[in-house]
């Protein structure tokens, strides 16, 4: 095993180009477990800790460019307003110690369906900024990023630099079911973002299909129903039947398996419950914000 220590992003890309089998390691929260448990013996470890750019973020007009290694702790503490869904998801990641080390780049690189960040990124809307020494930078839409169980759209010579996440234009929520009240891997997870500017709703489901997925049919149903009922304008309460239909469609978007963490049927059920609850929470928040805005006007 060789340990590569690039001091800059350019050096990192060069190293990855030279050694495409090199395994990037940043927070180490996935890679080191595999090494400690003898599940993986990479030829090269590519340490990204000294690439300072990866720990920066920039809040732009419409998006936040979030460095791949920005620790979850920073996201939940400092990006709560811009990325509320991802901040909530970050708070559910493992333990304080892990949140201090791990970042979204690791979740994306591992591309486990159980990664906590995925549903929030899917719901918010995001693009993954990847780069290679040979071909430079490209942006991969989050919807095209997950290609299979623990597989992503990255080429062997590419590294993840950042993720460009759409700034919240409305309430976002995130829920995750685990069989422990802290430090637990998701049995399944759900992210929901209201986008009042486009009058759309986006979702993200974790751990209930081979990859993180969106519940597109549910989104389309809800978009249409909200539009048709004038909900965005009148701020009416979402009826239980509407919420139930949305929840059912979210459940139907799952393609889960039975494993030691839970059964497929439970996952489907739980995603539905989380969909209904997060819809209620976000919609109530939207209504509250509307009323406040109206009151101020």
């Amino acid at each position: 095993m060789d340990f590569l220590r690039p001091a800059s992003w350019e050096e990192a890309l060069a190293a990855k180009a030279e050694h495409p089998t090199a395994v990037p390691i940043a927070g180490g929260t996935d890679v080191m477990v595999e090494i400690n448990f003898d599940h993986r013996r990479p030829e090269y470890l590519l340490d990204l800790n000294r690439v300072g750019d990866l720990y920066q973020w920039e809040v732009g007009e419409d998006t936040v460019r979030l460095g791949a290694s920005v620790p979850y702790t920073r996201i939940m503490e400092e990006l709560r307003a811009e990325l509320p869904g991802l901040a909530l998801a970050s708070h559910t990641v493992a333990s304080p110690q892990i949140r201090n080390r791990g970042g979204v780049g690791g979740n994306l690189g591992t591309a486990s369906p159980a990664g906590d960040a995925h549903p929030a990124l899917l719901a918010a809307g995001a693009e993954v900024e990847v780069a290679s020494a040979a071909r430079g930078t490209r942006l991969i839409p989050i919807d095209a990023f997950y290609t299979g169980v623990k597989r992503n759209a990255l080429q062997p010579d590419e590294l993840i630099r950042a993720v460009h996440v759409k700034k919240a234009d409305g309430p976002q929520q995130y829920s995750k079911v685990g069989t422990r009240n802290a430090m637990v891997i998701a049995v399944c997870a759900f992210g929901l973002a209201l986008h009042p500017e486009t009058r759309t709703v986006r979702t993200g489901i974790g751990s209930a299909a081979p990859t993180p997925v969106r519940a597109r049919a549910a989104e389309e149903f809800l978009d249409a129903a909200l539009e048709e009922g004038g909900f965005w304008d009148n701020g009416k309460i979402i009826t239980p039947s509407l919420a139930k239909r949305f929840a059912d469609l979210c459940s139907a978007a799952c393609n889960p398996i039975d494993d030691v963490r839970g059964t497929a049927s439970y996952r489907r059920h739980a995603v539905g419950v989380m969909a209904r609850r997060t819809l209620t929470w976000t919609w109530e928040s939207y209504r509250g914000a509307r009323r406040t805005a109206e009151g101020a006007a």
């Binding site: 080191m32 340490d47 110690q97 430090m183």
Partner: protein, 190 residues
């Protein structure tokens, strides 16, 4: 490979490090600092918690090479670290710049021998928070960091801050007591 970093204020060098070794392994097996514990080696128990550039992390998940040039505080250096912090905030009259320039002196600081205990260490003993003690070093580092950034935590705050540290003996009640006790003593300046 060779790795150079600072542990408990003292420059350290480890040679012939296998690239897959963790910071935890280097501390325990190469630097004679076994206080950080190897309970799960998968980031699920917190027994190996150390401060890496001030931040609590699981040292089992830090590749040894990633510690290059960085600053590590382990349970063995916790008492000195707490003392220097107290000095840094002026409560022992030491100027801040001196505290920043802190270096542990001699082997005593490495092993904890001959030094007093930090308030959180004393509180763990007094409250009965130590049984088998295997989780204790990690809990101490995590608790100390909690009280550093939140001098008066609620019970829910304590539970959240320590939710990454498993204990199998105590049922956590006495650990809660210990952190409350340390916070109370801290606020009374005891």
């Amino acid at each position: 490979m060779r790795v150079n970093f600072t542990v408990n204020g003292r420059p350290q060098e480890a040679d012939d490090v296998w690239e897959g070794e963790s910071l935890l392994y280097v501390l325990r097996e190469r630097l004679g600092l076994p206080g950080s514990k190897n309970a799960c080696e998968q980031g699920e128990c917190g027994s190996c918690t150390v401060r890496l550039d001030g931040v609590p992390v699981c040292s089992c998940l830090v590749a040894a090479g990633q510690a290059e040039g960085r600053d590590v505080v382990t349970v063995e250096g916790l008492a000195d670290y707490a003392r220097q912090r107290a000095c840094g905030t002026g409560s022992c009259g030491t100027p801040l710049d001196e505290a920043k320039g802190w270096q542990a002196k001699g082997t005593d600081s490495q092993t904890g021998e001959g030094t007093g205990l930090s308030p959180i260490q004393q509180a763990f003993i007094d409250a009965g928070a130590v049984q088998c003690g295997f989780c204790t070093p990690g809990l101490l580092v995590a608790s100390d960091e909690l009280l550093e950034r939140n001098a008066n935590p609620t019970d829910a705050d304590i539970r959240e801050a320590l939710s990454g540290n498993l204990c199998r003996c105590t049922g956590y009640e006495k650990i809660m007591d210990a952190v409350r006790l340390a916070a109370a003593r801290q606020s009374e300046g005891v």
